[in-house]
C-alpha cells in the first residue's frame, strides 16, 4: 500500500512498548499484519497445545483477565496491555492451559506470531525489548495490578459517571408531593429543591425516613421544613475524586450535578461502588478516622501505591498532582485536628495555609512542606505561643508521615511565618516594593498560598492585598523574570553540557532545577500578571492565554513541555520507588531513549523561547 492507510491502527501500535522502539517501516509492517477480533463480555481465549495460529494480543479497548489452569487470577489487563508472548523461546510452553476472559466487551488487535518471529530474526536487536515486556507481564502475575480502566476513575469527570435522572421540586411543595415525585415520576433517591429558580436545598429518601417517617412529621407540610440546606452539589466537570471526597466529608450518599443552577443529574455512591474502586478516596477516608500520628505514618505505603498507579496509568500529570495534593491536605488537616485536641481549642480564629508546590496542587512523592499561619490583627503574645506549639506539632508529625521538613524553613513552625495578618501584609509590601535578590526566594514561595484549614477569609484578604500591590508596581514582575531567567534550560545537554559536575550527582541532569522550576516560575509570572486566582501552573498559563498575554500556540507548547517534563520526573521517581531507593530529581542523560531525548530538546527550546518572551514583555519600559 502507498502511505499509511491504516493511520489509527499504526499510530496506536507505535505508542505501545516495545513497538514504539521499531522504525516506522517496521511498525507499518506489523500494523498491516494485524487481525482484529472482538470479544463480548464473558468470551474466552484459550492458549495451549491447539496448533492453530498463535497471536500476540493487544487490547485496543476493553478489559481482560488472565487465569491459570487452576482458575487463579494471573493478571488483569486493560487498554494497551499485551498478552500472548509464547513466540519467545524461553516462554514456549508458558501459557499452556492459561485462558484469558473478556470481562468487558473487548476489541483486540492480534499480531501473528509468525510475523513477530520473522521480525526478530531479521532484527535481533529488538529481541531484548520484547523479552523484557514479557518479563514485566510475568512479574505482574505476582501482584495483580489494577487495570488502566480502574485507574481511569481518578480523571473521569462527574458528567461521565453520573446518571441523568433526578427529581427537581419547588420549596412550597408538600412533603408527600415531593415523595411522589421522587418515587413515581423520577425514580430518584434524591430531590433538588428550588425556590424562585435557585437551588435552596436537598432531600434524600434517607432524610425522608429519618425526619418525616420516624418523627411522624405532617406530610402535608412544605418540603422546606425538612430539607437539608444549603445543598451540597457538584459540577459536571469536577473530578469524580473531588465529588466522592465531598460525599465522604458530608456523609451523604448522593450528590446532584449542577451547573448555573441547572440540575443535570445525580451522582450516587452506587455509581462509584458499581463502576470503580476509588483507592485515593478510601485513603483519604482512612486518614480522617486515624487517631494517632503513628497510625497516619503507616499509611505512607498506600500513598505510594496510589502514586505508582497514577503514574503507571499515564494519568495526566495535573491530575496526579491534584490527587496527591488532596491526600496531603487530608494528612495536614487531620494533624491540625490532633494538635488542637492535644493543646485545647484555639484561642482565636486563624488559618493554616500551604505554599509552594502544595499550594499549586502539584504534589508528588518528593514534596516537602511549605506552610504558614495567618492570625487576626491584634492577637496577644500568649495566643501566638499556642499557634507556635500547634505548628511545631503539625510540622513534625507531617515529617513523620513522610512529608519532609522544608529545608528553607518555610513552615508555620518558624515564628517568622506564623504571624498576624498586618505583619503578613507588611511582608508582601516589602517584597513587592523592594525586590532584592535575598528577599525574592521568600517572595516566590509565598506568591502562591492556599488555605486548607480555619478561617479562609484571612488568606483571601492577603491575596487581595497582593494583587493590589502588584497592580501598582510593575517592577516586581520584572525582578521575578530576571531572577528566573538567570537559570536557563540546558539546550546542549546531549553534548554533555550543563550537567551537575562533581559530587554525588556528577554528570546528571537536575530536572527540577533546569526545567521544571523554570516553567513553574514562568507560570507564576504570567499568572500574577493577569491577577489569576489559580495557583496551579497549568491554570496560570491558561488564564494568561485567556487574557491574551500568551498566544494559544505558546500556551499549547508550554503545557506540552510542562506535562512532558513532569511525567519524566514522575516516572523517574516511580522507578526509584520500585527499586526501593529514595526518589530524587537527578536523571542520567544516557538513560533517555530517543523519543524522550527529542522531546526533551523540544521542551528546553520552548522554555527558552518563553523566557525570552517574558523578558521582553515584563522588562521595565
Amino acid at each position: 500500500m502507498p502511505q499509511t492507510l491504516l493511520p489509527n491502527i499504526i499510530e496506536f501500535l507505535s505508542q505501545i512498548y516495545p513497538f514504539n522502539l521499531l522504525p516506522p517501516a517496521l511498525q507499518r509492517q506489523i500494523g498491516e499484519s494485524v487481525t482484529i477480533s472482538y470479544l463480548a463480555r464473558g468470551e474466552q481465549i484459550r492458549f495451549g497445545s491447539d496448533k492453530s495460529e498463535c497471536f500476540l494480543y493487544i487490547i485496543r479497548t476493553g478489559v481482560m483477565e488472565q487465569r491459570k489452569p487452576d482458575g487463579v487470577l494471573r493478571s488483569k489487563l486493560g487498554e494497551e496491555d499485551l498478552f500472548g508472548f509464547t513466540f519467545l523461546e524461553p516462554l514456549k510452553d508458558a501459557l499452556d492451559g492459561y485462558s484469558a476472559t473478556a470481562i468487558e466487551n473487548t476489541l483486540l488487535y492480534m499480531v501473528p506470531h509468525t510475523e513477530l518471529t520473522q521480525l526478530l530474526e531479521q532484527h535481533p536487536e529488538y529481541a531484548d525489548s520484547f523479552a523484557s515486556k514479557a518479563r514485566v507481564r510475568l512479574q505482574s502475575a505476582l501482584n495483580v495490578v489494577w487495570s488502566d480502566n480502574e485507574k481511569g476513575l481518578f480523571f473521569k469527570k462527574v458528567s461521565e459517571v453520573a446518571s441523568g435522572t433526578v427529581a427537581v421540586v419547588t420549596a412550597d411543595m408538600s412533603i408527600q408531593a415531593v415523595a411522589n415525585e421522587m418515587r413515581v415520576q423520577c425514580r430518584s433517591s434524591t430531590a433538588v429543591i428550588k425556590k424562585d429558580g435557585v437551588i435552596c436545598g436537598l432531600i434524600s429518601d434517607r432524610d425522608m425516613t429519618k425526619r418525616v417517617i420516624a418523627e411522624g412529621y405532617d406530610i402535608t407540610r412544605p418540603i422546606s421544613d425538612v430539607m437539608t440546606s444549603p445543598a451540597v452539589t457538584t459540577k459536571p466537570n469536577d473530578l469524580i475524586l473531588t465529588a466522592a471526597s465531598l460525599m465522604m466529608e458530608h456523609n451523604i450518599r448522593s450528590l446532584p450535578v449542577v451547573e448555573n443552577n441547572q440540575v443535570l443529574g445525580l451522582l450516587t455512591t452506587s455509581h462509584l461502588v458499581q463502576k470503580h474502586r476509588v483507592q485515593a478516596i478510601f485513603l483519604i477516608e482512612k486518614i480522617k478516622y486515624t487517631e494517632t500520628v503513628e497510625g497516619l505514618a503507616k499509611l505512607t505505603s498506600e500513598r505510594q501505591a496510589i502514586f505508582e498507579a497514577l503514574v503507571e496509568g499515564k494519568v495526566r500529570v495535573e491530575v496526579i498532582g491534584r490527587v496527591m495534593a488532596m491526600i496531603m491536605d487530608a494528612y495536614n488537616r487531620r494533624l491540625i485536628q490532633m494538635a488542637e485536641a492535644k493543646l485545647g481549642d484555639p484561642p482565636c480564629a486563624y488559618t493554616w495555609v500551604v505554599a509552594g508546590s502544595h499550594a499549586r496542587n502539584e504534589v508528588h512523592m518528593l514534596s516537602d512542606q511549605d506552610s504558614a499561619i495567618i492570625l487576626p490583627e491584634n492577637v496577644s503574645k500568649s495566643d501566638r505561643m499556642y499557634f507556635t506549639h500547634l505548628a511545631m506539632y503539625v510540622c513534625n508529625a507531617m515529617d513523620t508521615c513522610g512529608y519532609p521538613l522544608c529545608t528553607g524553613k518555610f513552615m508555620a513552625a518558624t515564628p517568622k511565618w506564623c504571624q498576624p495578618i498586618n505583619v503578613w501584609t507588611e511582608y508582601y509590601r516589602k517584597w513587592v516594593s523592594n525586590p532584592e535578590y535575598s528577599m525574592l526566594l521568600n517572595a516566590t514561595v509565598f506568591m502562591e498560598v492556599r488555605s486548607i484549614y480555619g478561617d479562609a477569609s484571612l488568606s483571601e484578604q492577603l491575596q487581595q492585598h497582593l494583587y493590589a500591590l502588584l497592580n501598582n508596581n510593575k517592577t516586581f514582575l520584572n525582578s521575578l523574570v530576571t531572577d528566573s531567567v538567570s537559570v536557563q534550560p540546558p539546550l546542549g545537554i546531549f553534548n554533555n553540557l550543563v550537567l551537575e559536575k562533581g559530587g554525588e550527582h556528577s554528570e546528571m541532569l537536575d530536572i527540577k532545577k533546569y526545567a521544571l522550576l523554570l516553567i513553574v516560575d514562568l507560570g507564576r509570572i504570567y499568572g500574577l500578571a493577569v491577577n489569576s486566582d489559580d495557583t496551579g501552573t497549568e491554570q496560570r498559563f491558561t488564564s494568561a492565554a485567556k487574557k491574551k498575554i500568551l498566544s494559544e500556540d505558546a500556551l499549547k507548547d508550554v503545557l506540552g513541555a510542562y506535562r512532558f517534563i513532569t511525567q519524566l520526573r514522575f516516572r523517574h521517581q516511580l522507578k526509584a520507588l520500585k527499586q526501593g531507593s529514595a526518589p530524587d530529581n537527578y536523571i542520567a542523560p544516557k538513560s533517555f531513549g530517543n523519543f524522550e531525548r527529542e522531546h526533551l530538546k523540544d521542551a528546553f527550546r520552548i522554555i527558552n523561547n518563553l523566557q525570552d518572551a517574558a523578558k521582553l514583555r515584563f522588562s521595565e519600559k
Binding site: 489509527n8 487481525t35 468487558e104 492480534m110
Partner: protein, 233 residues
C-alpha cells in the same frame, strides 16, 4: 418450508436468471456463480468483504468515486493482511468541500488508477463474499450506475449486509424508536469502540468491520449466528 420466499433463495434465482440471459461479461460470471450462503449458514464460516467508497457527493450521475478501500473478514476476524486501498484517477474532479471532508487532494488522485481497474479489483474481491458496508445506499447506487454506464447491466444480485440498518433494527427492537445519530463514528462510540480520527475508505471499511463484529455479539447473544437474520427481508 417457505425457503422459496427467503431473500437468499430469491437472490439465487435472480443470479441464475442473469447468467441464463447471456451477454454477461465474463468477469462477472464468477461473481454470480460463487456459492450463495443459505439462510442457516453460520457467519463464522462465511467470508465478508467490508468496503467503503469515498465519493465527491451522493449522486452517481454528477459525482465521482475518489477512492475505494476494502478488507476481508473471515472466522469473524478482520484480516488487515487482505486490506487494500486505491485512489481513482479520473481527471481533476475533487470539489473543494469534499476534499476537506475526505482529506483527498488532486495530487493523491493523480497517482491513482483508472476507475475500470479499481472496479475490476473490487469485483474480484467481492467474489464468494458477503458485502459489508455502513449505509449501503451510496455504495449500491454508485456500483449500479457504473455497471449501467460501462456494461449496460442492471443491479447485480449480490449479498449485502448493512451495519446501519442492523443498528436501526437493533434500536427499534430495544426502544421502539428509529431516530438518532446513525453515523458510523457515533454508533461506534456507543459500542465503546475506539475513535478513529483519520478518514479514508480503508479505515472506514475497517471501522465498519469492527462495528459489525460488535453488533453480532449483541444480535446473537444466545442464538445461533446465522446469516439469514442479518439480511433484509
Amino acid at each position: 418450508m417457505f425457503t422459496r420466499f427467503k431473500p437468499l433463495a430469491k437472490l439465487g434465482r435472480a443470479r441464475a436468471k442473469v447468467i441464463a440471459s447471456g451477454g454477461l461479461p465474463k468477469k462477472f460470471i464468477g461473481l454470480l456463480e460463487a456459492t450463495l450462503p443459505s439462510e442457516s449458514s453460520n457467519i463464522k464460516d462465511l467470508e465478508f468483504l467490508a468496503f467503503d467508497l469515498e465519493t465527491t457527493g451522493l449522486h452517481p450521475e454528477n459525482d465521482h468515486i475518489l477512492s475505494i478501500g476494502y478488507t476481508v473478514m473471515k472466522n469473524l476476524s478482520i484480516d488487515l493482511n487482505s486490506a487494500s486501498h486505491c485512489y481513482i484517477n479520473s481527471g481533476n474532479k475533487v470539489k473543494a468541500e469534499t476534499a476537506v471532508i475526505n482529506q483527498i487532494v488532486p495530487e493523491m488522485l493523480a497517482q491513482g488508477i483508472s476507475l475500470d481497474q479499481a472496479m475490476d479489483q473490487l469485483f474480484e474481491a467481492m467474489q464468494g463474499r458477503v458485502l459489508l458496508v455502513h449505509g449501503c445506499c451510496v455504495e449500491q447506487q454508485f456500483i449500479d450506475y457504473y455497471l449501467k454506464q460501462r456494461y449496460q447491466l442492471n443491479t447485480l444480485p449480490l449479498v449485502w449486509v448493512d451495519t446501519l440498518s442492523l443498528e436501526k433494527s437493533l434500536i427499534a427492537n430495544a426502544n421502539h424508536q428509529k431516530t438518532g445519530d446513525f453515523r458510523l463514528s457515533a454508533i461506534r462510540q456507543r459500542y465503546g469502540l475506539p475513535e478513529y480520527h483519520g478518514h479514508n475508505a480503508l479505515m472506514d471499511a475497517v471501522a465498519t468491520g469492527e462495528l459489525f463484529l460488535a453488533q453480532t455479539k449483541r444480535i446473537f447473544a444466545k442464538s445461533p449466528q446465522v446469516i439469514g437474520s442479518l439480511i433484509k427481508k
